[in-house]
Symmetry: C2
Subunit: 361 residues, 2 copies
């Protein structure tokens, strides 16, 4: 089946992945890393995954300008009009507003899926079915659709979506969005059967999201309105470099999804993880006999189990008497931290910055 030529994909690829420091570094964040040793980075896997659904020339990558060389290297299939370079970081709302303008200039009838570049999806066939169904729904409804993941545990690191009335089989009105709950609340959510994880994957027609920006984030919409007639032309880059920094830094969840009246959730189940933490990476990776995750590195273990090793290149790691640790080596930085203490990594990165400036970030 040929992918529908009105369907577009926006891959958001500008994150800095600080939770995976030092394996993920400012100059090569998480999405550009071959996390599972498959030969493809998370970005490349995101690209590959959407290819059966969206024409190759309709896949747009939005990233920070400093990552242009990495995107070019990893996705040589993209031409200039498919790589949007943000001059600065402004969270997801400005990123999506720009991508919508860019796409509408090419195709006013466009529908689009917006997806992070650094998530893991293990059941691609189910993903494809879910996305096709989502496209069909938004193409015939004036709807902002988010994919809600069937929760398998009371995860405190995710946002939750409370479902309302079912409008089609598997597609429901959204009642509320709740940011990361504490563990007790997360348990209540999961037990209730009324809550789904917010995947951060969205579908809508370009026109629908543009209207939502105009009514719910008018300041932001106004910035992009100044570029009428410029999107898709040679002037787009200069316009963005001048105006993008003036946009407020705000997430699309906060600016649009939590406020819009026409928000729906498609309940899906395709083996998803946002890979937001080392523990998530550990849980989603193949393990050896001692329950160690060794990625694609040379590790020799003695009386050591439950560890995750993330080490680049040809390095050899020899460990003895280490259980349930993160061992991450990135050439000039080595991190050794219990998996249970990984929330400390953010503080560590701060401490490193205070002490060494940007040298090790």
């Amino acid at each position: 089946m040929t992918p529908d030529r009105h369907r577009y994909c926006v891959i958001m690829c500008g994150g800095i992945g600080s939770r995976f420091w030092p394996y993920s570094r400012t100059n090569k964040p998480k999405q550009f890393i071959d996390f599972f040793g498959t030969g493809r980075s998370l970005l490349q896997m995101s690209f590959d995954r959407i290819l059966p659904i969206v024409p190759k020339e309709n896949i747009i990558v939005v990233t920070n300008a400093i990552y242009e060389p990495l995107v070019r290297e990893q996705l040589p299939e993209l031409d200039d009009s498919q790589v949007l370079l943000e001059p600065c970081r402004r969270n997801t709302a400005p990123c999506i507003a720009w991508a919508a303008c860019h796409i509408m200039a090419r195709d006013p009838q466009a529908s689009m899926i917006v997806t992070p570049s650094d998530h893991l999806i293990t059941n691609e066939a189910e993903f494809n079915r879910s996305v096709l169904r989502g496209f069909e729904f938004v193409e015939k409804n004036d709807a902002l659709l988010t994919l809600g993941i069937h929760p398998t545990r009371p995860e405190t690191g995710y946002g939750y979506i409370q479902i309302g009335q079912e409008v089609e089989p598997g597609i429901l009105k959204v009642k509320t969005f709740t940011e990361k709950p504490d563990i007790e609340l997360a348990r209540v959510f999961v037990d209730s059967g009324e809550f789904f994880w917010n995947s951060g994957i969205f579908l809508w027609r370009a026109e629908t999201i543009a209207e939502a920006f105009h009514s719910l984030a008018p300041d932001l919409a106004r910035e992009f309105d100044k570029g009428q007639g410029i999107f898709g032309t040679d002037g787009e880059k200069a316009f963005i470099n001048e105006r993008f920094p003036a946009c407020p830094s705000i997430s699309v969840d906060f600016a649009i999804m939590e406020k819009a009246p026409n928000v729906y959730v498609e309940c899906v189940d395709f083996g998803w993880s946002d890979l937001g933490t080392w523990s998530a990476l550990y849980d989603n990776s193949p393990k050896n006999r001692e329950a160690n995750v060794t990625q694609n590195c040379n590790v020799m273990t003695y009386d050591s189990s439950g560890n995750i090793f993330a080490v680049r290149d040809e390095k050899l790691i020899v460990v003895s008497g280490i259980h349930d640790y993160i061992i991450a080596d990135a050439g000039d930085v080595l991190l050794i931290c219990p998996k249970s203490e990984e929330q400390r990594i953010k503080q560590m990165v701060n401490d490193v910055q205070v002490k060494f400036d940007d040298k090790y970030l």
Copy 2:
């Protein structure tokens, strides 16, 4: 005081330091490393220490031929006649026999101190006094003198010397040598007051040790007798390259000291460690508030104490929840091992060799 021109020093510098793997590597063993971040390697410290006692031109370094560039780089003061290059490893007896022949060819009246290159001595003034006293003793007696260290704990990693009759204040006949005892025996030794640690530092006249070789290790002596008239000439190198490999691999302790009738011990106390283990290095290194030894590396610790970090260059180490470990990084190899399990390192090195050949040794 000008050092006596008949006094020589032989620094044995051919070891491969495998117990400190991977910080010490085959291509740059322990004695060539600046272990304490002072700017001087253990070899250079050994050289500096003997300079007040032995004329600079009388200091001889015996090493394996593969380490010639390292010796030249670290001790540019030495001329060609002061660097003896062994074509293969044959333990200490052949090394000392050659050095004695080399020195006798230059000065038949020579007396000499033989010392390892990789030990730590913290009280150099006391060391100097002890060595001067030892030279005086062997110069007027037909004696093989070893320096015995006053034991401060029941160390099982050292050899012990049992003392006999005192012949001069502080110099006694040796009754027995005992190799590494178990902990119970070590306690008995230390409590008895009759046992001293064998430092592996020896003094004698060149003539005395030559005679000892002839009577106690005649096969070995015969090999070197073939070189009569060649030592100290241009032909010495070719002779050694041809004949040295034929020598038995045997220690001077086993070949001579344990058998000779004229063996004496000078009881000394100058802050000595053979730095034979990571724990010894830990014990002898300055510690920070959390009792971590950080050598000269950038380490940030969280809830971590009692560790020893040995990391080259500018690398940053960030650790959390690690107590009493060895963390040694040598670029392409990282070792993490409890200090209490360091006797496993030898097995690990073997395993690494089986799996990767010499790549990481």
